[in-house]
């Protein structure tokens, strides 16, 4: 069985918001990566990855987020994450110190604030 990662994309104040639904692991991380890269136009200030509907994330997902951050930094763009307070994946992101590199916000509005400053 191939699990296709469902990445929902919306736009808020000129910033693309990508929300992967379900689980991100070895089986679908490549698919997920391709979708995330595709949603950021060169004209956008950056990308919000909304993880509030993501139910599983391990080191492959962490690596994907760090890689995205690196890519956007290179192109003078920015990345912000939405991770709700009670999300189960929060602890993995903290343990791997993702929050040291990428702003981790509790809500989407908070994340969008990152692009106004």
């Amino acid at each position: 069985m191939i699990v296709t990662a469902m990445v929902k994309v919306i736009e808020r104040s000129g910033v693309p918001v990508a929300a992967p639904e379900g689980e991100i692991d070895l089986a679908n991380v490549a698919d997920c990566r391709a979708q995330l890269i595709a949603v950021v136009p060169n004209t956008a200030p950056g990308l919000v990855v909304d993880l509030s509907q993501t139910t599983y994330l391990d080191s492959r997902g962490v690596h994907l987020i760090l890689e995205m951050a690196e890519r956007l930094r290179t192109s003078q763009q920015r990345l912000a994450l939405v991770v709700p307070e009670r999300s189960v994946i929060r602890r993995v992101l903290l343990l791997t110190q993702v929050d040291k590199t990428v702003p981790m916000c509790r809500t989407l509005d908070e994340a969008l604030q990152q692009f106004r400053s």
Binding site: E23, L26, N28, S59, L95
Partner: protein
């Protein structure tokens, strides 16, 4: 003008009388009045009898009163000796009594003395004419009889030929095996049509083999076979059989002569062998169908000394025509059957996917090896840990049916993985059905965590749910089969199963047993499944198959699929999965169910989940390379502690890629005590930590 006298054979008359005057006078009188008549005379009955025995006279004239044997006694003897020869008696004047006696004794006429010569001649002429007519009549009768018996013989011959062709046709239609067919034809031809018969078959790769060699004498058949063993069929030889195979032209040799055999050319060993066994005449016919020569049949005579004729050739050509058609049909059929079988077999899961926490078993019983039916089943894992189950049956048999089955199967999987509901999936499948096609199917989504099913049934027999305590219920509800209605509407049903229930899906072949109603079949299935619902699934499906069909399945294929969610043991965990990425969602699902059963708090559960999946991802990426292998996860849970091990049977290579090390660091963060033990036969990751006591 000279008219050649007509050659008329003289007619011989015998005159018997003891009166020398009369013997002198009467012949003269007759010669004068009649043409082409010779008269022989005799003066006593005894001498006359000798002559009559020797000569077939046209007529006999005898005096009635003679010394010694008289005329009446002579008449009696003539009647015995020459019943067809007319006899006239000469009586004295007024001897009416004698005249009457003579007529009663079989005389043609009587002549009274004194003899009226005109009357005598007239009577004699009539007698001879009557004799002539009788003779002609007899001849015609004979001719007719001869003709009739000729006709009879022809009819008998044709009847035998027709009988032979009818017997041959029976053999030809009885089997769809070309080789068996040709063997039977050879057996049938000997000895009715030939003393020896050999059949040859060209295989699809162009190789030609002698399929059968038959001789009317079993001892000679042995010898013939032994001799021919040395000479496998040689398509380029001058052998008459090879020539017929190449040219497609039948060959009739009524008389096999030395000159003919010599004129053939080199390499006629097969013919030489046949000739050593005394063959005198032969017919070889090609087996032609759709412009191709499929083989050859050779008929030879020996002991019977029979010489083949054009009539025999016609019969044999008719036989060959029918045989070729049968072989061609058999091959086409075989080809189609093989395609259908390959297609159908490729659609059934080689083995059911191993889903942790779920036991499954399936059986497929083909009704006959010849025809492939349209039954299929499928079992696959859906996102979020649910399981899709399918049981379907496309009406009919053969390649078209297998093709539709393939289409439905892949479309169903595609829609199912896309996340469509059972009703949406079935509704979409209905659009794939062409007019005239028909299929039944039931599609279920089973959630092992909640023990619920959502399903849509399109005219398929209802799935059966059996509880561990023996309660059983059919999952009723559904709509007509795919293809039955132009605008069908399919709806979703759902059911809450008893914990630990077994689900049974099947095709109608299971419940439709000859001579019993479907309701009987359903009742039998219900009873059989409920009898021992706890047994191992493989044993359960075998027992159910046996009990429901009572060992006498009907004419339809049977497919049976059983699924059961195991109730997890909260203290122990064990799964073994293929080391492929797609095993990961399955592993997480099973781990979550186990930890739920063990009442692990959400934070612990997530951390244990990530740690185990990290370890498994490493195995998938590093342990086996491109080769296949398994990964095993074991777990033990006590009140305060959890202990997990992940092992493989591969040889790790140094980590590469950007992710190196991050996974293991994460595991160490999550699990406190982590040891990695690489061995030549595999690596074990052991992880241990205490449980958080406060449920958040």
């Amino acid at each position: 003008m000279i008219v050649a006298p007509e050659r008329v054979s003289t007619k011989l008359i015998l005159l018997v009388d003891d009166d020398p005057v009369l013997l002198q006078a009467l012949p003269e009188a007759l010669q004068l009045r009649m043409d082409g008549v010779d008269v022989e005379t005799c003066d006593s009955a005894d001498r006359a009898l000798q002559r009559i025995a020797e000569v077939d006279y046209e007529a006999i004239v005898t005096d009635i009163k003679m010394p010694g044997t008289d005329g009446l006694a002579l008449l009696a003897q003539i009647r015995a000796l020459r019943p067809d020869t007319p006899t006239l008696l000469i009586t004295g004047h007024g001897e009416h009594d004698l005249a009457v006696q003579a007529l009663r004794g079989g005389a043609y006429d009587f002549i009274q003395k004194p003899i009226d010569r005109e009357y005598f001649v007239a009577s004699l002429t009539r007698a001879m004419q009557a004799r002539q007519y009788k003779r002609q009549l007899d001849e015609q009768q004979h001719t007719l009889e001869r003709h009739a018996s000729d006709l009879e013989r022809t009819v008998q011959e044709r009847t035998r030929e027709l009988q032979f062709l009818a017997d041959a046709s029976r053999i030809l239609t009885a089997s769809l095996d070309s080789e068996a067919t040709l063997k039977s034809i050879a057996r049938l031809a000997v000895p009715r049509l030939a003393d020896m018969c050999m059949t040859f078959l060209a295989e699809s790769d162009g190789q030609v083999r002698r399929v059968e060699v038959v001789h009317s004498d079993p001892a000679k058949e042995q010898r013939l076979r032994k001799l021919l063993e040395r000479y496998p069929f040689n398509a380029v030889a001058s052998e008459p059989t090879a020539t017929v195979l190449r040219t497609g032209q039948a060959l009739l040799v009524p008389e096999i002569s030395e000159e003919w055999a010599r004129g053939l050319g080199p390499h006629t060993e097969e013919l030489s062998v046949a000739r050593t066994l005394g063959s005198v005449s032969l017919i070889i016919v090609p087996l032609m169908a759709r412009g191709r020569t499929l083989g050859v049949i050779a008929f030879l005579t020996a002991e019977s000394n029979r010489r083949y004729t054009r009539d025999d050739l016609a019969l044999v050509e008719e036989l060959a025509r029918r045989a070729a058609l049968a072989i061609d049909n058999a091959r086409l059929y075989e080809q189609e059957r093989r395609i259908a079988e390959t297609l159908q077999r490729s659609l059934l899961p080689q083995r059911l996917p191993s889903i942790p926490g779920l036991a499954s078993a399936a059986r497929y019983l083909a009704a006959s090896p010849e025809a492939v039916g349209g039954d299929w089943y499928d079992l696959f894992v859906l996102p979020r840990g649910t399981v899709g189950l399918v049981m379907g049956d496309v009406a009919g048999r053969g390649v078209r049916v297998a093709a539709l089955m393939a289409e439905l199967r892949s479309a169903l999987r595609a829609y199912a993985v896309e996340g469509y509901s059972p009703a949406e999936v079935v509704q979409r499948l209905a659009l794939l059905i062409e007019p005239g096609e028909m299929a039944t199917l039931v599609y279920l989504i089973y959630d092992p965590a909640t023990q619920t099913v959502r399903f849509t049934n399109a005219g398929h027999p209802p799935p059966l749910a059996v509880a561990p305590d023996g309660r059983a219920a059919y999952l009723e509800g559904g709509a007509p089969p795919l293809g039955a209605l132009r605008m069908p509407a399919y709806h979703e049903q759902s059911a809450q199963l008893w914990p630990g229930s077994t689900l049974l899906l099947y095709t109608d072949g299971l419940i439709e047993v000859r001579g019993a109603s479907i309701d009987d079949g359903l009742a039998r299935l219900h009873r059989a499944a409920a009898a021992d619902p706890d047994e191992d699934l493989d044993e359960l499906v075998d027992r159910v198959l046996g009990e429901v069909t009572r060992g006498r399945p009907g004419g339809d294929d049977i497919a049976l699929l059983a699924l059961r969610a195991e109730i997890p043991d909260p203290t122990r965990f064990h799964v073994r999965l293929p080391a492929v990425p797609s095993s990961l969602p399955m592993l997480r699902h099973t781990l979550r169910r186990w930890m739920e059963a063990a009442q692990t708090n959400d934070e612990d559960a997530y951390e244990i989940l990530v740690a185990c999946c990290e370890a498994c991802s490493n195995v998938i990426e590093h342990a086996y390379g491109a080769a296949d292998g398994d990964v095993e996860v074991r777990g033990q849970m006590t009140e305060h502690e959890v202990e997990m091990t992940v092992r493989d049977w591969g040889r790790w290579r140094p980590p590469r890629g950007l992710n190196r090390g991050r996974g293991l660091r994460l595991i160490e963060e999550l699990m406190r005590h982590v040891t990695v033990t690489p061995r030549p036969d595999g690596t074990t990751v052991h992880m241990q930590r205490t449980r958080r006591q406060v449920t958040t």
